[in-house]
């Protein structure tokens, strides 16, 4: 039993944190989030060079061959810095291809993803937001040598920057994933910012898109749910880092801001709320780490573990976003101060891959 990171993982964390502190301070976050692209291609190449884009991809396909525990170390730091990047979408794509793709598909797709030349994303649900199989409704029609897809996928993260889409569909009563590229005939996608300007989302429109059988990945419903659960884990790991940033910023403000002759952090109204935040972050951090461990090591436990983590995090982080701003007083809600960026992240993260209502209900269904 060992619930801690390895030395290598700690080194990875240091590397990521150092990179983000140097290359992506808040001033950079702000200029990227206000740009059209919504991410920095310079960062993207640097991340590729550091091996992060191929983190989940095995070495035989030009990746680094690490696992989910390594990934969440990176994601936690990304969350802390709010770095705008299609990294999460990209990793979910890579991880899914590694797990479900055939050798030919891997050979074709993975090296491009590992090098960052291809940006990947997933387009799974047709009905947002609950990550349940019923909300995948896109029906493929048969075509000689493959299928034809016509429909729109709403809320596809990073749809505007992605080159490769894993599009979920149903055919002959079975779910599957189609590998679709931006340049394919009939494919169009663009994205806008969300309330959290560091995150992009858009609609993927498919009009008579012919997908040859070689580009199709058969999938069970359980695999579909597992794919969504990976999304749950990834988003929750980012929430951990962002939530820790809220505590750090607010604590340091509370130590310095003087009111009525004392730092406001002396008053229990402020300090106790910060202590509660600490309790919450420690807790959903533990839950998130364990869920990440389950992805690779104990898949049967993943549904419960992922739902417990996201349910706890969704409620707690949303409240922290609000209270972080409120504890800062008036300065907290100015555009130029950073704490409000985390409030917006907390709103963005709450419904992603299911909100607390959904995940608590799922836990009840699994355990009651």
């Amino acid at each position: 039993m060992n619930f801690g990171f390895t030395e290598e993982q700690e080194l990875l964390r240091e590397q990521v944190r150092k990179f983000l502190e140097e290359r992506c301070p808040t001033s950079t976050v702000r200029s990227i989030m206000n740009s059209d692209a919504g991410y920095s291609s310079e960062h993207w190449s640097q991340m590729a060079a550091l091996g992060w884009l191929g983190l989940m991809i095995d070495e035989s396909h030009e990746g680094v061959g690490l696992g989910w525990i390594d990934l969440i170390v990176v994601l936690e730091e990304m969350g802390r810095s709010l770095c705008p990047t299609p990294f999460v979408s990209h990793c979910l794509t890579a991880s899914t291809l590694c797990e479900l793709g055939n050798e030919e598909q891997k050979k074709t797709c993975l090296p491009g993803l590992a090098s960052g030349d291809t940006i990947g994303t997933i387009a799974v649900l047709d009905i947002p937001d609950d990550p349940i199989a019923d909300n995948l409704t896109l029906q493929a029609s048969a075509d000689p040598g493959g299928i034809i897809l016509t429909g729109t996928k709403p809320f596809v993260t990073d749809a505007g920057s992605a080159d490769l889409f894993l599009v979920a569909y149903r055919h002959a009563n079975k779910p599957g994933l189609a590998i679709v590229r931006r340049q394919d005939d009939g494919v169009s996608a663009s994205s806008t910012a969300t309330m959290d300007l560091t995150k992009r989302t858009g609609t993927l429109t498919l009009e008579n898109v012919k997908v040859p059988a070689a580009q199709l990945i058969p999938m069970t419903e359980a695999q579909l749910i597992r794919l969504l659960d990976k999304g749950v884990v990834a988003v929750t790991a980012e929430m951990v880092g962002a939530a820790e940033a809220i505590i750090e910023m607010t604590t340091s403000y509370a130590r310095e801001r003087i009111q009525f002759g004392h730092p406001i952090g002396k008053y229990q109204g402020v300090k106790h709320r910060l202590a509660e935040m600490y309790v919450d972050v420690e807790s959903f951090k533990s839950l998130a780490y364990f869920a990440a461990w389950c992805v690779d090591e104990d898949p049967d436990q993943l549904p419960r573990a992922a739902s417990l983590a996201k349910a706890y995090a969704s409620d707690a982080f949303a409240q922290m976003g609000i209270d972080g701003v409120q504890l800062h007083g008036a300065i907290g809600f100015t555009q130029e101060y950073d704490i409000q960026l985390y409030l917006k992240r907390s709103k963005w993260a709450r419904p992603m891959f299911g909100d607390a209502d959904y995940h608590y209900e799922r836990v009840a269904a699994l355990t009651l």
């Binding site: 910012a193 969300t194 009111q259 009525f260 109204g269 007083g329 809600f333 100015t334 409030l343 963005w348």
Partner: protein, 388 residues
Amino acid sequence: MDFEYTREEEAFRQEVRDFLDENLPPREQRGSDFMENWLARVREKRWVGFSWPREVGGGGGDIMSQVILKEEMAARRAPPLGTCMMGLAWVGPGIIQYGTDEQKARFIPDILDSKYHWCTGYSEPNVGSDLAALQCKALRDGDHYVINGTKIWTTLAPIASWISMLVRTDNFGSEEAKHEGITALLVKLDAPGIEIRPIENMAGQRAFAQIFFDNVRVPVANRLGDEGKGWAVTISSLANERSSIGEVTAMYSKLESLKELVRRTTRNGKPLSDKPSVRRELARFEAKIEAMRLNGLRYLTRQIRGQPLSSETSVNKLHRADLEVEMGDFAVSILGQAGNQTRRQEGAVDNGSWAADALGWPSVVIGGGTPNIQKNIIAERILKLPKD
């Protein structure tokens, strides 16, 4: 106990309703000159400054009629009775109570006639809840004060012509006597040495500003009240707040829009209005708003009876702050990703208005004295617990 109104009160209510029938066409039928006419008509009725003395141009109305006026106006979502908001809410009452006859003659009619905007300058960068710690200073130089310092979070500053502000004329740097030595000044914002720098809030609006004062000269005649006694002016203007009747109507109307939203929104094929947790939360909002309404009426009865209130208005302020946060967040919490999208963003619900609401609460919640301060007020003044 009696929730009925007297015949005179009912007659006044009818008068207001008739007036609104006649003068408040539906939004889409309002012409470009509507607002100008509206302001002129309500001014004629003496409903602007309704509770102010008739001799300064106000309506001389009693509390109950004022409640009725506010209720009816809010129920019909009528435009404000004057556009000089800060003048009507804060500056005017201060001038009426503490101003010289010259000041009254000079400023009150303009406020009533919506001639120009006022703003108020209390907060400073290092002075938030602890208002009396203000440092912006004004030194006497003959028949002028010379102001140096800065004010922040000044609502409407970018469009206002005048500011009613607090400065320190004495007791510089004294923590103990900090309430002494504060003076209230009325300052024209085009005076040399004033710079106004707008502040953008997180929802992208520029309703606030920071104002810098660099050797700004203000005639002593523009002092409101005695030198060094500005704290009393502030306290009285804060105490000037009456019951929160208009607010309650506004909260009810916000609750109605939430109800309407959940009725027309489905999730996994079912209307959100069927979801037990949604139903409970809306009912809980209703209980809080109704409590605010009834608390307001109970305290109002005390005022009408001449029984002094302590700091009971903090009760409704705390409810208001909670509700602003909770109701603002509620819609986006149930609408999923689409609810979080703001105007012009992909897939936004109702053009992003709910998302905007979810970012709009802090000005109300923090602006009116933070909830922690309101709790201290109740604990110390009403429950007589020791000060921090």
